[in-house]
């Protein structure tokens, strides 16, 4: 049976088509302001890409912030469960998952059989979320995907003391004005967000091995910063951005 997992985040919508445990197709589009429309568009394009019809899909499971706006889904499940499933499928040994989303960051602890044992999410503040990174990238007029590589070149990371997104932004603007170099500022930004995440990890009690899920896992600078602060290796997969959608598709298969 074919199952489809759809993950509607605050920035991107991801879809994974699954046949048993084989990935048939995947797709990613920007969400825009209408998550319902994004879901429909994602479905259409994915069907086209895979050369199948809507009726060929047995089960559709939605997840992510917009999960409830996908009315063609058979079931809506939160990201916590889906990321847990998706990562466990790719890396069965992982016990702690860090996911930095656009609006929410979460740390998930899995039990030995890959079920979610516990989780924490960031408090209401946007510090420590993907939004923080976006704002900082904009303040530095750098593309977010260059951010990671840039920060790896830093020898002397800048100190960014404010956890508040708005204050940190002005801190960065003044660092730029002072002439601190971009590599150091970028690295400072990653360390700042990593510290914020680390306190969540500690609150839950980290059980290694640790993995990072979600699109932000592609940011090598942040992964490096987290490894430094948590003093542990952080594993990632090239498929990390699709982990939530994959987990949803697996649930559709009855996993």
């Amino acid at each position: 049976m074919l199952s489809l997992g759809i993950d509607i985040g605050s920035l991107t919508a991801k879809g994974v088509l699954l046949e048993g445990t084989d990935i048939v197709e995947k797709h990613l589009i920007p969400v825009g302001y209408n998550s319902k429309k994004a879901g429909e568009k994602l479905l259409d394009e994915l069907l086209q890409k895979a050369g199948i019809k809507r009726e060929d899909i047995g089960k559709i499971v939605s997840t992510g912030y917009g999960r409830n706006s996908i009315d063609f889904a058979d079931r809506a499940v939160t990201e916590i469960i889906c990321h847990g499933k998706g990562i466990h499928f790719q890396m069965p040994h992982i016990r702690t998952i860090i996911d930095i989303g656009g609006q929410d960051s979460k740390v998930i602890v899995l039990d030995k059989s890959g079920n979610v044992a516990n989780f924490v999410m960031n408090d209401k503040c946007a510090a420590g979320t993907g939004r923080f990174l976006d704002v900082m990238a904009r303040a530095m007029e750098t593309e977010i995907h260059e951010f990671g590589v840039l920060s790896l070149q830093s020898k002397n990371p800048s100190k960014i003391s404010s956890v508040c997104t708005v204050f940190a932004e002005s801190e960065i603007i003044s660092l730029v004005a002072k002439g601190e170099n971009r590599e150091d500022i970028t690295s400072g930004i990653h360390l700042s967000i990593a510290r914020r995440i680390a306190s969540m990890v500690k609150r839950l009690g980290m059980i290694p091995p640790v993995a990072m899920s979600g699109g932000v896992a592609l940011n090598v600078g942040l992964v490096d910063a987290l490894e430094q602060i948590l003093d542990t290796k952080i594993e990632t997969t090239p498929f990390s951005q699709y982990s939530g959608a994959l987990g949803a598709a697996l649930l559709g298969q009855g996993a």
């Binding site: 912030y65 499940v77 939160t78 990201e79 916590i80 469960i81 609006q103 929410d104 079920n115 979610v116 044992a117 516990n118 989780f119 924490v120 999410m121 408090d123 209401k124 609150r203 009690g205």
Partner: protein, 406 residues
């Protein structure tokens, strides 16, 4: 659905008449005292003084969704956005007279403030004492880090005596010790009944939820020591016991039982209760409403006056986190709950400050804990979509855990 508790209607009428009496106190030749929620109210009742609770009023303001606006007004006066929203609601309402009660609270003849709940109330009541130019009595309760010492006992008991002198002075009447005895007994009886009411929720399915408790709490807070409270809780208890006999649950098809910590989110009660109910979850108990019957064992029925000091000092917000965690552990077992929901309340620091420590102390219980950030009355401090994402995820984890346990 079990529907509404029948007693609810009665309760609304009692509260209405209570406020009517307070509003017309002057015409009835009675005095009005504003008092903090944890304050020693029984001596007031014994002296025929009408107690009025700005915090109860604050809750009404919250439930009427007026809290955000009122906090904003107070912030315009210069109060920090971090000040407790009950305080800001009260300060605003006493200036603008905006309120769910027409014209706001009746003005006080005196103020009674006990810092057993927090330090905020001291400044709050000082401000209001200046504004209304009325006498203020402060009942100072030392914090119980681990134990209640003999020195502490002597200290609070001396204040009980001063309190009585204060009341005699400002009413011009001798203190009525005979009535005090009756009031003390009634107060204790009301607390015992309230305890029994809450304990009906041990039953599966639970005949009531914490949302019911938040509502029915008003009487034990405002009028304990009066006969009407005892009568009312007897009726409520009967109704709940009846439900238990017939296995009628407050939540349809109750499958999961949860414990709530901290004050309610007054402006989102319906939304929250429906949200949890949609997952088959009932909030069967909470630490907040339990606070009004947590100290029964320290009061001597025959000698209320000289034992109330200890009881008022030992309340939930005036003890160390270890004791708070112990209380929560006790409830986890007593009510057989599957998870703990902590409201991290922007307003109430003494309640919210230790929550992470308590979480750590609960690690051996192996119970999922959810933290919701909000405020009891200030809607500006709450994000529905964030709360929803957390509650849904939390419930999924609880469901999964329960499935595995089977």
């Amino acid at each position: 659905m079990a529907g509404r508790l029948k007693a609810t209607k009665k309760m609304k009428s009692i509260m209405k008449w209570y406020y009517v009496e307070a509003k017309y106190a002057r015409y009835l030749g009675k005095k009005v005292a504003w008092i903090t929620s944890g304050g020693p109210v029984e001596p007031l009742i014994a002296m025929n003084i009408i107690p009025v609770y700005p915090e109860n009023h604050g809750a009404m303001i919250g439930a009427s969704k007026m809290g955000g606006k009122m906090s904003e007004f107070a912030e315009g006066l210069g109060y920090s956005s971090d000040v407790c929203s009950y305080t800001k609601n009260d300060i605003t309402s006493s200036i603008t007279k905006e309120s769910p009660i027409k014209g706001g609270l009746p003005e006080p003849d005196m103020l009674i403030c006990s810092n057993n709940i927090c330090g905020t109330v001291l400044k709050w009541y000082e401000i209001q004492a200046r504004k209304f130019n009325v006498p203020l009595f402060i009942y100072d309760t030392p914090f119980v880090h681990t134990e209640f010492t003999e020195e502490a006992r002597a200290y609070v008991n001396a204040q009980t005596e001063e309190y009585i002198k204060f009341l005699e002075k400002h009413t011009g009447k001798k203190f009525n010790y005979k009535k005090m005895k009756r009031v003390g007994k009634l107060s204790l009886e009301a607390m015992r009944l309230w305890k029994k009411v809450l304990e009906t929720a041990e039953h599966k399915p639970s005949p009531m939820t914490a949302f019911d408790a938040f509502f029915h709490l008003a009487l034990i807070v405002t009028l304990r020591g009066k006969k009407v409270v005892v009568k009312y809780y007897r009726q409520l208890l009967k109704e709940l016991e009846e439900r238990n006999k017939n296995n009628i649950g407050a939540v349809d098809n109750e499958q999961y039982r949860l414990l709530w910590d901290n004050l309610p989110i007054w402006f989102r009660m319906r939304w929250l209760s429906e949200k949890f109910a949609s997952h088959g979850a009932a909030l069967v108990a909470d630490t907040y409403t339990q606070a009004w019957c947590g100290v029964i064992d320290y009061v001597n029925e025959e000698d209320f006056l000289s034992t109330m000091g200890e009881a008022y000092t030992r309340i939930h917000l005036n003890v160390g986190v270890d004791q708070m965690a112990d209380t929560i552990k006790k409830f986890i077992r007593q009510y057989d709950v599957d998870g703990l929901v902590m409201h991290s309340n922007r307003s109430c620091k003494p309640y919210s400050f230790g929550q992470y420590d308590i979480q750590n102390l609960l690690q051996d219980e192996d119970i999922p804990v959810l933290m919701i950030e909000a405020d009891m009355t200030d809607e500006r401090k709450f994000s529905e979509s964030q709360a929803e994402a957390r509650i849904d995820a939390f419930m999924e984890v609880i469901k999964q855990r329960k499935r595995e346990k089977k």
